[in-house]
């Protein structure tokens, strides 16, 4: 378990340790990802850090043919598109992430609701490699 820290950067520190963290409101039980101190449902400021299983389902997705600079640098373009989506974690909340390990030839065959599990992709130049959350078919 990563150290309890409800500030935003702790999320990526945990990703670097291959752990997916969030928070649970101690008053109403609402679960958030990324973690946050103040509950958006009941406004309590009593939250605890939790760790997610990393399993969930695909809530929605797209396949991007015109990428932003960071993804161009990662090798993506119109002929080599990538999938990005929103995953509903089995603990409830949703998060945005790249979806890897899919055949993108016909995006119409990708199904909302398909089971996925957490993985990590590395991006950026050699000296500034960073780990980013991603999901793959489970």
């Amino acid at each position: 378990m990563a150290e309890c820290n409800l500030e935003s950067k702790a999320f990526y520190n945990a990703i670097h340790q291959d752990v997916l963290i969030g928070s649970r409101c101690k008053d109403c039980g609402h679960v958030s990802i990324p973690q946050r101190l103040i509950c958006r449902v009941c406004h309590s400021d009593q939250a605890e850090q939790i760790e997610f299983s990393g399993f969930g389902t695909l809530a929605t997705f797209t396949v991007i043919y015109v990428p932003p600079t960071e993804m161009v640098e990662a090798g993506y373009n119109a002929k080599n598109p990538y999938c990005v989506g929103i995953v509903a974690l089995e603990e409830g909340p949703r998060i945005s992430a790249q979806i890897v390990g899919l055949d993108l030839a016909d995006p119409g065959k990708i199904k909302i609701g398909m089971p996925v599990r957490k993985t990590v992709v590395e991006r950026g130049p050699e000296d500034k490699r960073k780990k980013v959350l991603a999901f793959e078919p489970a």
Binding site: T60, V63, P68, I86, R94, S96
Partner: protein, 420 residues
């Protein structure tokens, strides 16, 4: 308790620059163009010294033009110094929020005459840099690293919408065709071309170059051709996306009691609402824009009107799916029915709920900070019977503007009425 404005607010004149790509112009030049037209449109004229504040919507002159603190510069360029001038930044809703702040300034009694502006100069940057700059309107910590772009966000909403309602994706293409139809009748539009005109011009170009001349059975066939209309972010194609644009718009607001001094045909702002939201992933719905429904509810309540009282609307069609969702968020059609209405032509100029008679962001262009203000220009034109070839008949009485920032982290709605 119903929230009312403490006193009434009226629009007494409007102006906008041509929208498009203008490599020789700075944003301030585009605003001067809009302001010059505004001066002409105020029937009895006005003395610039009467203006007490300048609210200016602009998303990112910092990134697009390497210029922050733009409002005082623009104010100086139209001769307004030392009037209080401020830039409002709420992504693509910057213009609509600037309008709202101006309305509140007048309603509060602190100002009687306020200039509202919106401007953006986007085309100096490469397409990739524009994509990067626009992505700053999303959560750069938790959304952008996933690989999302703005077409990508709306494409994901489209995927969710089409799946949830088993909707026909052709409905999205219909929205694009309709907005180009309207834009062809707007001399200020970036794309003054119907899709059939685009097809003819592609054929002519191929013939000129001695290339095989492409053949399409009709506009829908063109829209489905991956060469003519390539995929940007599945399922959204090029003609589902609003363009990168330069442009500016200006509106003069005065207190209701002063309106007749300036013009015999003011239009009155009778409803205003604004709401916010978190990142797309944390919303309960991925197939609607909840902040739009909240903002609309406030505006309808203030105006004492229902969606059926709205004769026409200018909505934020940054992508075709956004227009479909807007027509549901605003209550024109039930949830899951917006796509059917688009298919059936109910949002066309001769339909039950005309939407984006100006051509919308899609065809008119989307200089982001200007869009929310340019929507008011269309309100003025339609309500006053000045919309030329795209004029609605009978002349409408009540119109609505809907301006969204990001994926709906901000939405601002206004309702306008004529009384003459």
């Amino acid at each position: 308790m119903t929230k009312k404005l403490s006193r009434g607010v009226a629009v007494v004149g409007v102006g906008m620059s041509k929208f498009g790509a203008f490599p020789e112009k700075h944003s301030r030049d585009l605003f001067v163009e809009a302001y010059q037209e505004l001066k002409q449109s105020v029937q009895n004229g006005f003395d610039p010294k009467e203006i007490e504040a300048f609210y200016m919507g602009n998303f990112s002159s910092d990134h697009f033009e390497n210029q922050a603190h733009l409002a005082p510069i623009v104010a100086s360029w139209v001769g307004l110094s030392p009037v209080a001038s401020m830039r409002i930044e709420d992504a693509c809703a910057s213009g609509g929020v600037a309008l709202r702040q101006a309305v509140l300034a007048i309603a509060s009694g602190q100002c009687d005459v306020v200039l509202v502006g919106g401007l953006e100069k986007m085309t100096d940057l490469s397409a990739a840099r524009v994509t990067d700059a626009l992505a700053l309107a999303a959560d750069t910590m938790f959304e952008v690293p996933a690989g999302f772009t703005f077409p990508g966000f709306y494409a994901s909403m489209a995927t969710a919408y089409l799946d949830q309602y088993h909707a026909d994706p052709d409905a999205l293409l219909k929205v694009g065709i309709k907005n180009h139809e309207n834009g062809a009748l707007n001399e200020k539009a970036q794309f003054g071309q119907r899709i059939s005109d685009v097809m003819a011009s592609k054929k002519a170009k191929a013939a000129q170059k001695g290339l095989p001349i492409p053949e399409w059975a009709d506009e829908m066939a063109f829209m489905k051709d991956p060469k003519a209309n390539p995929m940007i972010a599945w399922p959204l194609r090029l003609f589902d996306c609003s363009p990168v644009s330069d442009g500016a718009a200006a509106v003069l607001l005065v207190s209701e009691e002063l309106a007749q001094k300036y013009t015999d045909h003011p239009i009155y702002i009778i409803g205003a609402g604004q709401a916010s939201d978190g990142a797309l992933a944390e919303r309960d719905s991925l197939s609607s824009v909840p902040s739009a429904a909240h903002a609309a509810a406030q505006a309808y309540e203030m105006a004492g009107l229902t969606p059926d009282d709205i004769d026409f609307a200018e909505v934020h069609d940054c992508f075709t799916i956004a227009e479909v969702m807007a027509t549901e968020d605003l209550g024109f059609f039930p949830r899951g029915e917006g796509w059917k209405a688009a298919m059936a032509g109910e949002t066309a100029r001769d339909g039950k709920h005309p939407v984006n008679t100006s051509g919308g962001l899609k065809a008119k262009g989307h200089p982001v900070g200007a869009s929310g203000v340019a929507q008011v220009v269309e309100m003025w034109k339609q309500l006053n019977g000045l919309a030329g070839g795209r004029q609605l008949t009978p002349r409408p009485t009540v119109g609505l503007t809907h301006n969204v920032g990001g994926t709906g982290q901000t939405c601002v709605v206004h309702i306008f009425e004529r009384r003459s």
